[in-house]
Amino acid sequence: MEEVRMPGFVERFLKLDRRIIYSLVALAVALPLLWPLKLPIRVTPEVESVFNTIEKLPPGSNIMMSADFDPASQPELYPMMKAVMRHIARKNHKLVITVLWPNGPNLVAQCIEELKLEFPNWRSGEDYAFLGYQVGGTIVIIGVGNSFTDTYPKDYYGSSTAAMPIIKQFNRLGQADYMVMFEAGNTGDYWIVYGTEVHDVDVGGGVTAVVAPLYYPYLQAKQLNGIIGGLKGAAEYEVLTKVPGMATSAMDSQSIVHALVFFAIVLANIFALVLAIEKRRQARREA
């Protein structure tokens, strides 16, 4: 069959070297970090719901938090976890934190230490308890539904949980007024099924963008009262708490890369369609 003749740039575009694509992506990330566009960030109802719930709880309410992620998801979940923990500390709520992913506890410890610079009176054992990591996944969720002290006899720092004032008033999941979970996988499904549904606790989810679409059924079924999805969700929460952080500064890069990929896919499909039409015309001419 005779070779199809197309304008050279269409062919060259469709066969673009992947190194050029990689370079464009790298530039699209780097340049807005150096020269921010400061595009406005619009808050979605899903994120606002989590914020409003924490905001409206009376001071001193019990909040359970589970940080189930590792360094691979840190850029997305760390900023939102920090923004939510800052909000909780500001409202003087009592916070108990667990971790179900083994590579996560040091990240949470780091976040707590950074927040203690902003809230010097925030005390371990009184205002918050960081229980740390426990092996078991779903079994740990069932365990914290029974008792924090049985599942976590010692906290992350090695102190006895039974002796903590906060644990004396808040010793199991059912005593939580609200729960926030930060999920990089499907551990959130288990928290809902084995934890919050069993003990009738409202829960909001901070999730990576990869798994965010999977949690929308829970939102519609009111098993989840809000979703903070991905880095954009983290930026929205920073806007609501009026403390811009890592997520807000990353939004411009996010926007530019998305626009780059968007136009690349659209153009590639248009050119592929043009190529297909030309092939068909060629075939008809030959016939």
Binding site: R19, V25, A26, V29, A30, L33, L34, A72, S73, Q74, P75, E76, P102, N103, N106, Q110, E113, E114, K116, L117, G132, Y133, Q134, V135, T138, P153, K154, Y157, S159, S160, A162, A163, I192, V193, Y194, E197, V198, T208, A209, V210, A212, P213, L214, P217, Q220, A221, K222, Q223, G229, G230, L231, K232, M246, S249, A250, S253, Q254, V257, H258, V261
Partner: protein, 264 residues
């Protein structure tokens, strides 16, 4: 970049030598060394984008070893010690004899023995003992999950699907609600029909399952869009580290701006 060695002394209950070690590891010198090592490893890992190479393989195996060592230590401190060793031998607990000390509980011998059965899988000829442990754990867990999945997942999701249909239809903005309700109800139902492979997808069933396929395609398209967001977020995180924590480009740009445009 976050400083990994901040530990507020008043809260941390560290001994003096531990505090000295933490101060040293969190000091400027060790943070600078760590930043350069982290930057080097980041670039080594990024080298895979060009092609697989021995440096990347080396980094991969270092990562594997460090990860395994870290996890083993973590399991020992967070699980073995408080849940098994201290209840069995409470005098090993540093807080033994105080109200915060661990209370003896000899019943942990039973799960301990079951746990050792799992470790015996490494010994040729003894692996069959682990079946008892798996039967105990998996059997018990599935008994719990049977009712929890039914009441915590199946029923609420099913009810929410049915509940999506409004009980009365009116004009005005509620038309959008009706459209949403129909999409939710019809979409969920048709997806379920698509996954029911015991009936051939022909005729009416075939038509219904086609609608399910399109619903799934839209859902996967949304997932694709969000996945792009997720992966780009991770890249932004690493670029922020390389540009600002390692190369201090933010300070460089600031100085350049002052030189070019002047300043106080």
């Amino acid at each position: 970049m976050l400083n990994p060695a901040i530990l507020i002394q008043a809260e941390s209950q560290l001994l003096p030598w531990q505090q000295a070690m933490a101060d040293f590891l969190g000091g400027d010198v060790m943070v600078a060394i760590g930043t350069w090592i982290a930057a080097g490893l980041t670039l080594i890992m990024f080298s895979f984008i060009y092609k697989d190479n021995p440096l990347f393989r080396l980094g991969e195996h270092v990562y594997l070893g460090i990860s395994a060592g870290y996890l083993m230590s973590l399991y020992f401190f967070n699980n073995m010690k408080p849940q098994f060793i201290y209840p069995l031998l409470p005098f090993l607990d540093p807080k033994f004899g105080t109200p915060e000390g661990t209370v003896m509980n000899l019943w942990v011998i039973v799960p301990g023995i079951l746990g050792i059965f799992i470790l015996l899988r490494l010994v040729p000829g003894m692996g069959w003992l682990s079946r008892t442990t798996f039967a105990f754990y998996i059997g018990g867990f599935t008994g719990i999950s049977l009712s929890k999945v039914f009441s915590g997942l199946l029923l609420p999701q099913f009810y929410a699907t049915i509940d999506a249909i409004p009980y009365r239809v009116t004009n005005g903005p509620e038309f959008i609600l009706l459209l949403n309700s129909l999409v939710l109800f019809v979409g969920a139902l048709t997806v379920l029909v698509y996954f029911f492979f015991s009936v051939e997808h022909r005729g009416f069933v075939g038509g219904v399952s086609r609608v399910g396929v399109y619903t799934l395609m839209i859902a996967f398209g949304a997932t694709f869009g969000y996945t792009i967001m997720a992966r780009v977020s991770l890249l932004i995180g690493r670029m922020q580290f390389l540009m600002f924590d390692w190369l201090h480009l933010d300070r460089l740009m600031g100085r350049l701006a002052m030189i070019l445009f002047g300043g106080g």
